[in-house]
Amino acid sequence: MAARKVSLVENLAAAAIMGFLSLLLVTAILLTESAASSRERVLIADLAGRSVTAKPSAIDDPACSRVFPLPGKNGDEFGAVIYMRSRSGTGRAAALFAGSGQLEAIRLVDGDSARLDFDQGDWFSSFLGKGADDAYPRQAASARDPAAVSGASESFAETAGILERMSLLIRTLGKERG
């Protein structure tokens, strides 16, 4: 009986330690999320040329965590900061989509400067105007300036995949918002 009591106390102590750690982690996550959200808001506002005040919608995508709606006279637009990662490097870009899912603007915010793949040339413009019914280019060869994309690069395909997913997601969000 006494051994059981001791065991119970030990288990409770262990649970308390883990509970405390969970609380600590949740607090840290909330703080980080809030700070990251504020920074992304600034980047999107800079790209869109107007302030972003609406609450972001959380999404679960490996490349993006939240989408900011930008209500406008000609229908809603959506802004997101996307993270692109391939064997060729890492990049972070702010993107602006129309409610139909079409990519209206995109700008590289910063990149893993050691690997310049995302940074070379203005190859993001190959994706502009795509989305909605007009699919993103699948091969670098069909892009506007293939040389700037350093051939059929993995980063190009990765970016096309991310933008396609985002476009689909924003179309759904746009429909939900009416």
Binding site: V26, D60, E154, A157, E158
Partner: protein
């Protein structure tokens, strides 16, 4: 990506050992479990870990907006269960016991955790995550078997003293990794389609 694409990608283009650097220098002979139990243990531990990780992350934490807690909850909820399962298996007899012993060593480590993290955070559906984790286990095993063969040959070679043992094996791992450099996501997509 199709299931064939996922298998090729996970086993080769994203090889757990040679591309992601999960796990450590394999020592199958030292553990004495043999290659087949190691392969089965690798696949089972990877599949079990990834499935539990995927479920905890996508079914529980994502709806709560706490996806970043995935590893912590996985360690608290799934690892003790996986450890117990492997210990029960290792308490059995014959082949099952060898799988259990090999699996028990694999539960906590960069290989099982890394594969679980990768497949759960890649946006795969559950069945895709399961297939990807099994293929990752197979890819790791394949790399380990090749390295083990190289080790056998190197033992009979005249390797300079400072390179004997681990250094030449690490360099050999690099040379094998070079062979996989041409296989990337784009190559697999072009090979099997989207």
């Amino acid at each position: 990506m199709s299931y064939v694409g996922i298998v090729l990608f996970s086993a080769f283009a994203a090889n757990a050992m040679l591309v992601y650097g999960f796990g450590r220098l394999p020592r199958f002979r030292a553990t004495g479990s043999g290659w087949l139990p190691q392969l089965i243990a690798l696949v089972i531990v990877n599949m079990l870990g990834s499935t539990l990780f995927w479920a905890i992350r996508n079914l529980v934490l994502v709806p709560l907006g706490l996806a970043s807690l995935d590893l912590f909850i996985f360690v608290l909820a799934a690892i003790p269960a996986m450890k117990s399962l492997m210990r029960v298996a290792s308490g059995g007899k014959g082949f099952l016991a060898r799988i259990g012993v090999a699996g028990d060593e694999l539960v906590v480590g960069t290989l099982s955790f890394g594969v679980a993290l990768l497949v759960s955070r890649s946006g795969y559906r559950m069945l895709e995550a399961l297939v990807a984790s099994a293929a990752s286990g197979f890819g790791y095993w394949l790399a380990a078997v090749v390295l083990e063969r190289i080790r056998d040959r190197l033992e009979l070679s005249d390797v300079p003293t400072p390179f004997r043992g681990a250094p030449i094996m690490i360099v050999s791992t690099g040379l094998i990794a070079m062979a996989l450099m041409g296989v990337d996501a784009l190559f697999v997509k072009n090979l099997v389609g989207q």
